[in-house]
Amino acid sequence: MNKVDKNKNVKKIKDSLGSRIFDIVNIILMAVIAYACLAPVLHVIFASLSDPVRLLSHRGILLKPLGFSLEGYKIIFDNDTILVGYLNTIFYVVFGVLVSIILTVMGAYALSRRNLLWGNAIMFFVTFTMFFNGGLIPFYIVVTKLGMFDSRLALILPSAVSAFNLIIMRTSLREIPDSLEESALIDGAGHLTIMWKIILPLAKATIAVIVLFYAVAMWNSWFPASIFIRDRSKYPLQLILKEIFVQNDTSHVSQSSSDTTGINTDVFKMLVKYCTIVAATLPVLFFYPFFQKYFVKGVMIGSIKG
């Protein structure tokens, strides 16, 4: 901290007027960009808390809620659709991430061995899939032929391993010195013991990164569900959101058991939209400041050679 301050003082003396003007402009520009990233999100949050009637007649960005009302949240939580979507998404995230991380760690461990005759060949086999794929239809047919249509497995298995994450994991496992494992091998430990007792504890940070990558991707995923799932009781949250925004159809989320009159009018439609956005996004927005540094770390491991 001190060092930085000293540097600042030294620079200040030398700074020309132009340089100082640049600094000020730069600071303002960065503030404007940051605000532009924040404003839409704040707008949505404020709108979701607003009085629906005033909201309907309002135009422009909201800087604070218009009045205060939790009516929208009441509507969406009064009805099962959003709750079921929530539970489904949590199910997909938990089991999906579990399957993904187990497969990824196993694959990365095997591919991080240096004395493997077929190591490079398998690596090529994996990497090639990042640059070429069969396309949507053959993929769809394969998954369907495996009997996964309208099954929860269709959202977990076909996207379980990302070649990109596997490569990040492998890179980081390669940094663990070979001598550690060799001495364990000599002591008679098997590969599973080494993986479990030596590698995993040392690679904890990277595993956390990969878990987060998978979890956020799964939380935000909607497309596979939209092509494979027909049964509404298996819909993840994002697919329900898609219905609301794209088809502009709020009927499923706002059908209240007690009162159905007037609730699907434009007044409530808008409110319900904002409330579902907030409900679906808040968990990620709440946690991301804590885990963004791990994401950053993951990108950096991925780019070591870049």
Binding site: A110, A121, F131, V142, T281, F295
Partner: protein, 318 residues
């Protein structure tokens, strides 16, 4: 996938083919490493089933594929699906839309995070820098469905941005503004996060280089141009190659969520056309042919970009 920022670029050099096909070496290796191969098996099976089986499946492109007959029972029709596509009214429009959307996205979306990182690098307060970073990463974590919902809302006929621009029409449903909105919101969403990798590269620049430049009389602009930029050049080139390799995939999901029949003339791209033909109209063979055409074009561009870069700058992916 938009996340293709970086990625360790794994060695693609040929394996030791001599050893790989030598039976005694294979036996020896297998005896020593069979457990390791067993551990690798699930992942190999995964890619075989979900990545390579569909690649074999592209042969459907040469069939009049029927779900009933399946892969083996459907009639082979040669190149008919391809010629149908090339001759169709949509061919020119799809190619042009795909190309121009990707091109604008590259032209504006690629330099933006670099510029942003360079400007951020000039900020003197570490704490301010961190706050700006955290806030600008945020849009990256929001799901594309929600992003699309917010875009539709903000650019609707009485949306916040429409008002700001002094317009009263539904801009996202407008042929003349669809592309700008698409590219602009992409920049907005990825600006912060895509700058991460450049920030990482910038933090590795040797301070002595700056001191030397200062001695030579370089000002801040001079240092940025002659020290900072060259030292992150190889990162820029690698990311550019990757980006070009993915050029024609555009952001398929985002277009799917944002487009409407009224904007098809500018918004319909090859991948969305594949989706409609294949999954909505069950025209499997034809759709696969279009998809294969797209994948092949993509792959060709990746190889060309890589080759050009290797010749010109000696930086390459493989």
């Amino acid at each position: 996938m938009y996340v293709e920022t970086g990625g360790e670029l794994p060695p693609l050099h040929p394996c030791r083919w001599g050893n790989i096909v030598n039976i005694t070496t294979i036996k020896k290796d297998f005896k020593r490493n069979w457990v390791v191969y067993l551990i690798a098996l699930p992942v190999v099976v995964f890619f075989a089933v979900f990545a390579y089986a569909p690649m074999v499946g592209v042969l459907m492109a040469f069939q009049n594929y029927q779900i009933k007959g399946g892969f083996l029972g459907s009639p082979w029709i040669g190149l008919k699906n391809f010629t149908d596509f090339f001759k169709s009214y949509y061919f020119g429009r799809l190619i042009w839309n795909t190309f121009i959307l990707s091109f604008y996205d590259l032209l504006f979306g690629f330099p933006a995070p670099i510029l942003f990182a360079l400007l951020m690098n000039e900020l003197r307060s570490v704490r301010y820098k961190r706050v700006v970073q955290t806030i600008t990463y945020m849009p990256y974590f929001i799901s594309i469905v929600v992003i699309a919902g917010i875009i539709k809302d903000f650019f609707s006929s009485n949306g916040a941005i429409t008002l700001l621009l002094g317009s009263t029409s539904n801009l996202i449903g407008n042929v003349s503004s669809f592309r700008s909105i698409f590219v602009g919101t992409n920049i907005w969403q990825f600006l912060g996060f895509n700058s991460v990798i450049y920030m990482a590269a910038l933090s590795g620049v040797d301070q002595e280089l700056y001191d030397a430049a200062a001695l030579d009389g370089a000002g801040r602009l001079g240092k940025a141009l002659h020290v900072t930029l060259p030292s992150i050049m190889s990162t820029i080139i690698i990311l550019l190659i990757l980006r070009i390799g993915n050029l024609l995939t555009v952001s398929f999901e985002k277009i799917l969520l944002l487009y409407a029949p009224s904007t098809y003339s500018v918004s319909d791209v090859i991948t969305t056309f594949t989706y409609r033909k294949g999954l909505l109209e069950s025209n499997y063979g034809y759709s696969t042919a279009v998809g294969l055409f797209n994948s092949a074009l993509n792959f060709l561009m990746l190889v060309t970009a890589n080759f050009t870069s290797k010749k010109l700058t000696e930086t390459s992916l493989f």
